[in-house]
Symmetry: C2
Subunit: 349 residues, 2 copies
């Protein structure tokens, strides 16, 4: 795959400027751009600037409100019930997590649920905000259907990711995962490349095992651990859909195809102030000891290093900040076209 080396700060500025051209304020556009570019830095390209064309179309058609201002509708010392006001999901998510952290500093813990929101990018972005300030962060979102409840072959729940992050003396430890064995993107890619896929990734429309990605890309993703992953996806749907007052799985409007109906995606966020439990300094010592112990364990055949959750992504961030992001020619081209269309300077190398 042909790639171009791109400077992350210039890339962030480009995305910010593009979104401002659709009426977003400087601050909100920054939050969105920072989330997307952070995904590219971390190597999670599926949630990065490769989605800019779609985000821009959603802003342009006003199916997402560029000027939506999230609003707290109910507030208690440990809770926030928030209307995302159909803003970009990153704007609603950033607002919710920021407020959660403020309140957790007072109350020990705060849990926020957001409705009337949109695709919020990479879940880890929010949890790392908390970890960087000495707190534990949790985030989750629902999404259009891709997974079936256990026993069914028909999609209902989204690939509902969740993330949790904790501070360490160095970089946060961060889990960001979906309850499916793989992302649908992997199956679509295998179809493009003409490769077989292993059994256990996806079932066809009748619920039969499927190793042909041409069929599998229209099938239903399989959850990790069978009923366990299915259960996690159902509960994420319950928290982000029902508790948050948003839409549930099949009632969420399509991100790529529907430019008329707002998605009404829901999210939840949760922040805990470590100082109000064991204390931050004891926590950091405890984590340091745990990580050292884990890294010293016997390795499975072929393993060269035992990584903590999010450690590979943290290393990539550092590398790519220094050396640039290797961007596929096709994404580069999409951004160039957007820059031309919106008359924004295109200097990202």
């Amino acid at each position: 795959m042909e790639t171009r080396e791109v400077n992350w700060k210039a890339l962030r500025q480009l995305c910010q400027q593009l979104m401002m051209r659709e009426g977003m304020c400087e601050e909100d556009a920054y939050v969105c751009a920072d989330n997307l570019v952070d995904a590219d830095l971390a190597g999670v390209e599926s949630h990065g600037v490769s989605r800019m064309t779609n985000y821009m179309k959603r802003l342009r058609t006003r199916v997402v409100d560029p000027c939506g201002r999230p609003e707290t509708q109910k507030e208690y010392p440990g809770s926030l019930y928030i209307d995302g006001k159909n803003a970009m999901g990153m704007v609603a998510g950033h607002y919710a997590m920021r407020r959660c952290m403020e309140k957790a500093k007072e109350s020990g813990c705060c849990f926020a649920a957001v409705h009337h929101s949109n695709h919020f990018g990479m879940a880890a972005y929010y949890t790392m905000m908390a970890a960087r300030e000495g707190m534990i962060g949790f985030s989750a979102t629902n999404a259009p259907p891709n997974l079936a409840p256990w026993g069914s072959s028909q999609k209902y729940m989204g690939t509902n990711p969740f993330s949790i992050s904790v501070p360490t003396k160095k970089e946060p430890i961060t889990l960001d995962m979906a309850p499916s064995v793989v992302a649908m993107g992997k199956i679509i890619l295998a179809a493009k490349l003409g490769q077989k896929i292993p059994e256990g990734w996806v079932v066809d429309a009748e619920g039969n095992p499927c190793t042909d990605p041409e069929v599998g890309q229209y099938g239903t993703l399989l959850p990790i651990g069978g009923p366990k992953g299915s259960g996690i996806a159902i509960f994420t749907e319950i928290l982000c859909g029902i508790l948050a007052g948003a839409a549930c799985g099949p009632h969420i409007h399509h991100f790529w195809k529907d430019f008329e109906n707002p998605q009404n995606v829901g999210h939840v966020f949760w922040a805990v102030d470590i100082e109000k439990f064991c204390g931050l300094s004891e926590f950091l010592d405890g984590i340091e000891q745990m990580v050292a112990e884990m890294k010293g364990l016997a390795k499975t055949p072929g393993t060269t290093e035992i990584f903590m959750p999010g450690e590979i992504e943290n290393r990539r961030r550092a590398e790519r900040r220094a050396a640039g992001i290797a961007m596929s020619q096709s994404v580069y081209e999409e951004l160039r076209i957007l820059a031309e269309q919106y008359e924004v300077p295109f200097t990202i190398e």
Copy 2:
């Protein structure tokens, strides 16, 4: 397997009386007995009265304090930091969840972390307390090591289960799961029965795939979804071990073998008052719709009904409450011996 039909209320009373004979107060002994018998009612026999002999030995040796009174050490509107005072884990867990729920009624949400505790039985017991009062409950615990961080073949994290439960118009929907593909008990059972086990359950001490349960029972359990399940187990360890100020995986003393050193297990609990989000009545309607929609989806070949998490367990509870619990002759015999030893009347049929 030979079984005896046992009356659940009589069984609960027997367990309560036995524990009172070791100095537990009436109320605490009731909470423990109720948790254990509820596991047997639900069909989770591994966490039921089959453990009574061990719990009694732990009380008798005073490695668990029969009179330990859990104590809140730090308290904020949304948080509780609790010393379990080496009481039975069920006593500490019940205290923590009860207080969490009280505070969530005021603050919207409360998160509790407990240290210096013990094996707390079935995680779902606590979350269903919350669901039965119109709240969402979450619980998790750490445990002695059985799982390796991804990339290692050496045990570190416990089979750390977590549970989440929500109310419905009928019975709660409840997920209670460990991040391993199967419980170690399944492998030990296969060894007893001389059966092979499928690849993917466990690895041997060198980290190689293992289908021989004789080897596997001394191996390391595999997590669901590879690094995903491993990540969940690590974060449960971080919350229940480090944040809660308790011991971490390999530093937790053994439940079956060590009667000198308190386990210092940690738990976390979390309660959310639905009324402070979408509202309970809207929530119950939303759940009803979601469940109806899921149950109406196309079924995979061989599936007769799509079950919600915990639904099978709820049905079993109702059946066994009415018809009795089918108890294995060996567990029955263990209880008979305990009753004799402690001079407690043995009438449980």
